[in-house]
């Protein structure tokens, strides 16, 4: 189905896409049909900068299994970071 399931968040950082590096201010996280990945539904991430228009994004489509693995890995890395880092 087109799940419509979407979370939007504010982000602070940068991402590199077809036009080079862009400042990232917003994110969309959703589980829906991919454009390119060979699955029925994927966990999709849009790292966005709306000031740059619709093309101001870096898009990632992940299988649900690999997306969960990514979440665990991100959490593990953040938890392992020494305290006090900027």
């Amino acid at each position: 189905m087109c799940t419509y399931i979407t979370e939007t968040i504010e982000l602070a950082g940068s991402a590199k896409g077809a036009s080079g590096w862009i400042k990232v201010t917003d994110g969309s996280i959703y589980l829906d049909h991919p454009v390119h990945a060979p699955f029925g539904h994927t966990l999709n991430l849009d790292f966005r900068n709306p000031e740059l228009g619709p093309a101001g994004r870096v898009a990632v489509e992940l299988s649900q299994e690999s997306a969960r693995a990514l979440v665990k890995a991100i959490t593990a890395v953040l938890d392992a970071a020494p305290p006090g880092l900027d």
């Binding site: 189905m1 087109c2 799940t3 419509y4 979407t6 979370e7 939007t8 917003d26 969309s28 959703y30 829906d32 049909h33 454009v35 060979p38 699955f39 029925g40 849009d46 966005r48 709306p50 228009g53 619709p54 093309a55 994004r57 898009a59």
Partner: protein
Amino acid sequence: MSDALTAETITITSGNGDEIQAYSVRALDPAPRGGVVVIHHFPGYDDSTKEIARRFAYEGYNAVMPNLYWRQAPGASPDDAAAAARATGGIPDQQLVDDVAGGLAYLKGLPNSNGKVGAIGYCSGGRQSFLAGVSLDLDAAVDCYGAFVTGTVPPNMPLKVTTLVDRTPKLSCPLLGLFGDQDAHPSPAEVDELEEALKAAGKTYEFHRYPDAGHGFFSVDRPGYRVEAATDGWQRIFAFYGQYLSA
């Protein structure tokens, strides 16, 4: 009699007067024929839905697919436009109705129009095809596995989606529904709910349900493709339009 077609990107006037992009596929043969407004799915105004529009023309209809995200992202690539539309909550139902109305007027204005126009949509477009049928004067509507016509919209849904079943009495045309029994949205129970509403309202409808199919069984480029359901479904669609969009 010619089988030549013209397929091109054009501008049409939406029902609210806005100029929007659309993909038009027209038969060059002057013999009168019906028209089909093709409603693209949530991922956007993409290549696969343009291919569907071309198929309708190949089968003898004029077809037009409005770019439903043109206002949100004019000139953007289809995937970027879909992402932008999603991030801002999707498109309002009234905008969809206006854009289908624009497609309808465009098709009726073609020199070889027989004055009859239907709509079809897949996935989110299935719901929107039903929405067009209860909002506009159509001659036929096809709902391919559209979720949230019936059932319950989850709380805190960030997108602008409501159920439509209460508007069933306003359905202006016969409805063809094609569904997979393994689909969760719409589930078989939600399809049952729509069928009961159509019966209660005395509407003409035709439902076909495929036991071995889930959601998106027409999508040849996705793992949900089911050849038997899709082949039968296409035959049902052309039989239905043959009945209701003929002169």
